[in-house]
Symmetry: C2
Subunit: 207 residues, 2 copies
């Protein structure tokens, strides 16, 4: 029941440090296991170097710890995509290609994290849904710019939904299961499908 003394007790008034450390450990465990059910409060405490009871000083219970950790993960995806999507001066088509790569890259490098983000039971929660909308709104904006540049009068919201659903499906079916053992699964590599998407959806610059 004792704990590896891997962590020094915070100084007085700096107890909130533990909260961040717990969230970081929980996010790592979510990334490793890919699901909220497989990450126990006790495991998070152990990884942080603290006893299970200490967690209750910062979170009401296991559920709250997990929800906060998932929101933490969402902020990471937002940061990754935000770095690519926000510059309003850059060519939107170039921007779109980079976004596809970034999205596919995140899902490939962090499959567990990605899976957790889009778990349906979690997306029902208001706060999680809000984060999802925030990221999606950026995509809608980018699609608007592409359509405008092409004089295309399609609905940007609908087209952005097409983009997102397709990307989501590609990374869901084509991701390798960790090791590069390669040719086991029946599908073409995800990046080829990502590459072919803009043309199929009419999101390439008109000549």
């Amino acid at each position: 029941m004792s704990v590896t003394p891997s962590r020094e007790r915070s100084r007085r008034g700096e107890g909130d440090q533990l909260r961040d450390d717990l969230l970081e450990a929980a996010a790592d465990l979510l990334a490793e296991h890919g699901s909220v059910e497989k990450v126990s409060l006790r495991a998070v405490a152990t990884r942080t170097g603290v006893s299970p009871t200490a967690v209750y000083r910062h979170f009401a219970n296991h559920d709250e710890l997990m929800i906060e950790s998932v929101l933490w993960c969402w902020r990471e995806l937002d940061a990754v995509l935000g770095a690519v999507l926000t510059d309003p001066e850059e060519d939107p088509f170039e921007c779109f290609r980079k976004m596809g790569d970034a999205y596919h890259g995140f899902a490939t490098e962090e499959p567990g994290r990605y899976k957790v983000l889009f778990t349906r039971d979690l997306m029902v929660l208001d706060q999680v849904q809000e984060m999802g909308l925030l990221v999606f709104a950026k995509l809608v904006g980018l699609v608007e710019r592409m359509l405008a540049a092409n004089g295309d009068d399609r609905d940007a919201f609908f087209v952005a939904s097409q983009v997102h659903t397709w990307l989501h499906g590609i990374v869901g079916l084509c991701n390798k299961p960790g090791s590069p053992e390669a040719e086991a699964d029946p599908f073409p590599p995800g990046d080829e499908l990502v590459l072919a998407m803009p043309a199929a959806l009419g999101l390439e610059p008109k000549n």
Copy 2:
């Protein structure tokens, strides 16, 4: 520890009946919970009206019970899609529309079952992968017929992969979480996206 006597003991020589009953109960529980981890051997036994130990007469352990149940679920999807895909006389474009509806319908009506089918940890298993390939091969055949009808020289395998990844993404992001509480989620209804897919992928009959 005792069991509701909801089930009569099989007659001698008919012990295999229990095996089928267990698989059916397990498939139902998978449909309800949407994940292998949430379905315990004990829960399957209880639902079947039998003690946990009885399960071991037919399955080596919890893992084997779950794998066989998932294969059972795959056979159901195969049957649903097979009913639509197999008639080689029918107009392939009409057939394709029906297939999209059937796929979307299965995923919407049985979200738990659908989720389990495409769980990555399970798809790694040879037998599960084999079932997936079997279903996918039918789609490739259908796409071949559409491309041929249109004199389209694209690779049927690649186009079928585009179809499947997109459908998978649509049902993954747009499915309602059970009740028709409606306008919570940010995306357009899945059936609209399914309807728009053939045109976007160039899979409508040429005039």
